[in-house]
Amino acid sequence: MSSAEPVHQLADHLFRNESKKMVAVLTRIFGMENLETAEDVVQDTILQALNVWKLKGVPENPSAWLFRVAKNKAIDIIRRNKHSVQYNFTDGEKILLTSEYTLVTAMENFWRDELIKDDMLRMMFACCHPGISVENQITLILKTLCGFSTTEIAKAFITSEDTVSKRIYRAKEFFRNNDIKLVIPSPGDLKSRVDTVLNTIYLLFNEGYNSTSSKSLVRSDIMEEAMTLCKLLTENEYTCLPEVFALMALICFHTSRNESRLTTEGEMILLQSQDRTKWNRGLIQIGNDYMNKAAFGNVITAYHLEAAIAFEHCIAPSFEQTNWEMILRHYEWLCKISPSPITELNKVVAVMQVGGAKAALEQLETIKDRKKLESWYLYYSLLGEIHSKLDDVIKAKEYFHKAIEMTRSETEKKMLKGKIMVLQ
């Protein structure tokens, strides 16, 4: 390869994919408290790849090349720090890294393909430790398990690189101070720890699905990463719980509509106007398979119900022909097991379809924590919607304007302005 550009293009995708694997393996070797070392090794490896590949072309098996370089760098570090207390190689097969008889072979064994998925899973549990704030969990996951750079994370959340670095620093400090082991939690803790991980994946996915702070409304790269992480959980014999399958189904159903959610100019298309032929039938089928797997056992979680609602939308031939009664029933159940003002608000949307605008307004007024919704643009947008259906143009306009004030997303603002236009 002669020019640098193709190397960069290939590199971006490849590096993101391989660096998360390398970080997971190296962190297992050096310990969670030395996440920094793992990241440094990966960084050096990628730099070396860029330099060498630019001159000599991309090797036939680039991943193997990267892994080999990373292994050698890790071996160098171990040799250089033989008597340092920074790295603890006393337990398990790590002790074999301390002897030249076994160092190279032991290093090789850490990189076995079949172990890497579990390494990433363990890493996921460590990153989603309940002692770390959700914000920092998401940042850390994007950095270590999704291979995003600090700059990319800052861009995705419209925040400064400084803030991102601080969040990562705090999480790393937590690992250093608390001796966090890289393990799949024991059966007693498993359920609650999986819950935390699922919550983080769910939030991560939402960030991609409906980017609150990014210029583009949909970040399909983030959605894809959330899907990959959730898939890892479905593939492990201990963590493949019904709620994991349910979240996976939910992610598939929502992702299946990606192609129809934005115009070519990046403007938002509402559900009722989406071209349903663009929906990814294959993905809906996959989601459906996960849904079936989620049905074993006797647990119904919020993910089950949200997936069931998304499924109803996915199979409806049109907005009008959607089974709104069924959706309303799911929402009623959802409000019972996972009550939140936002869920209540979503229920109101279903009520409007089933019982009309008047019923919706009455329902809306029964929401207990309505105050909490008042900082959310969708609340005003829905009020505008209801009043426009009730032919109260003045109030509808007022609410839509309020909604515009509340959202930071340009595409949402445009969509709301469109609604006001229709009112005239």
């Binding site: 398990g92 097969e93 002790i95 074999l96 076994t102 072979t105």
Partner: protein, 116 residues
């Protein structure tokens, strides 16, 4: 528990080293043997030694080159492990892959806790 020093002699495995597959297979045996010691918490340390060497002798500190002995007499590496008795140490040593070679030998010495 006491500590024992194993000195490995001979068994340089030159013939095995010529085939990468066989060599790897051999190294996996060291992995297994030392790995088990590690699992049992009996492994302290181990390193192979190069065939070069220096010797410093007496109060005049005369320096000479190399051990200059036959391959099978030369110490090629060491391992320190924990064991309750010579019997246990001997049992452990029997698993050492160096004994796959007929000229391979393990000398076992208990580490002397010097009492003052």
């Amino acid at each position: 528990m006491k500590e024992y020093l194993f000195l490995f002699r001979g068994g340089d495995g030159t013939t095995v080293q010529q085939s990468p597959e066989k060599w790897q297979e051999h190294m996996q045996k060291w992995m297994k043997w030392m790995g088990e010691l590690g699992q049992q918490g009996k492994f302290v340390g181990a390193q192979p030694l190069t065939t070069t060497g220096k010797q410093v002798t007496g109060s005049k500190k005369v320096v000479t080159d190399g051990p200059f002995m036959e391959g099978k007499e030369m110490v090629g590496g060491y391992l320190i492990c924990k064991a309750d008795s010579y019997d246990e140490a001997v049992d452990i040593s029997k698993g050492c892959p160096i004994l796959e070679f007929d000229d391979g030998a393990v000398e076992i010495r208990e580490i002397h806790e010097v009492k003052m």
